[in-house]
Subunit: 190 residues, 2 copies
């Protein structure tokens, strides 16, 4: 067992010792969902004031409105009754630090290296594996306000999203802990 | 402004007032990532003992190893240095309560209704919109231990995932707050 596994299980035991949430129902009690970034500095329960049972939280690299995020939001609405959604990106996001081309080059060179010096990557050699990164849209971000706006628009335009659900656009500032509205996104999300 | 927006912003102001995390670096300090479900009853920071800055948290409906989750994990490893991953599904998951066919029927009937009584859905009529749900793989779950195993296997088999990264499989019990290992998943994740 690694140190990390040990630490996680020790922390979990402490949480379970004082656990008093056994009777929470499956549907979110406050009927809303948040789509936000996986970034380690973000704790949506803390920054948005959530207790266990309150709201769905969907997270991926960038907090982007990927097909998978939309799958989750549609389930959240249709089966579990959320009626308002937040899209929350953040300042100093890793997704601003690279482009699809940079990521593809980085992965291609790592994979080529793997066939030579076995640095831990799958040994995909010079074949299809070395260009696997080209088949993934990495959903990088140039401008946070713009990406929030685009994601709110994409969600609202999806044929499985109910027309009247409000979608709010925000940026979380990692320096202050504050949520800052992107007014044009919230307007587009009406 | 709705009550929910007001409550979220009020909670956020209180969080920001006492904010002392301005200097956290972008890469996760504890070098690991968790993939888990969006379920409102789960608070990964609490159940795994995370502080802001510690670990990436990726969440979707079911905590499934979707293409988008793998996109996020590859970025987490390659650009931001995580070196261990957890896949954590949970008991009493909404994804066990339906099948692709049920979801598709539900969406198709809602969309048809929308063209008649304008119940808030996009007015897609009987056309392409009414079968839009058929184009989405909903990633439902029949058995949690099996879904954890399948997801760990899918992650390990992905050509962009480094061969030597350990992936651990767990189920979170919503009745007790406890993480329970799925040993065959963790074994497959070695």
């Amino acid at each position: 067992m690694t140190n990390i596994v040990n630490e996680v299980l020790t922390a979990n035991s402490a949480y379970a010792e004082g656990f008093d949430k056994a009777d929470l129902p499956m549907p979110p009690g406050r009927h809303f969902a948040i789509l936000t970034c996986m970034d380690a500095r973000l704790d949506p329960a803390k920054y948005a004031g959530l207790s266990e049972g309150d709201a769905h939280v969907i997270r991926n690299a960038g907090g982007r409105a990927s097909d998978d995020a939309i799958r989750s939001l549609v389930i959240s609405y249709k089966l579990l009754g959320t009626r308002e959604w937040f899209v929350i990106h953040h300042s100093d996001c890793g997704m601003e630090t690279f482009t699809d081309d940079i990521m593809r080059d980085l992965l291609a060179s790592s994979l080529k290296a793997a066939s030579i010096d076995a640095d831990g990557w799958h040994d995909c050699g010079q074949g299809p594996g070395s260009t696997e990164g080209s088949y993934i849209e990495w959903l990088t971000i140039k401008d946070q306000a713009q990406s929030v706006l685009e994601d709110v628009r994409r969600i609202k335009a999806h044929p499985l999203v109910p027309a009247d659900i409000p979608v709010y656009g925000y940026i979380y500032d990692v320096k202050s802990g504050r949520l800052m509205e992107v007014p044009e996104a919230t307007a587009a999300g009406k």
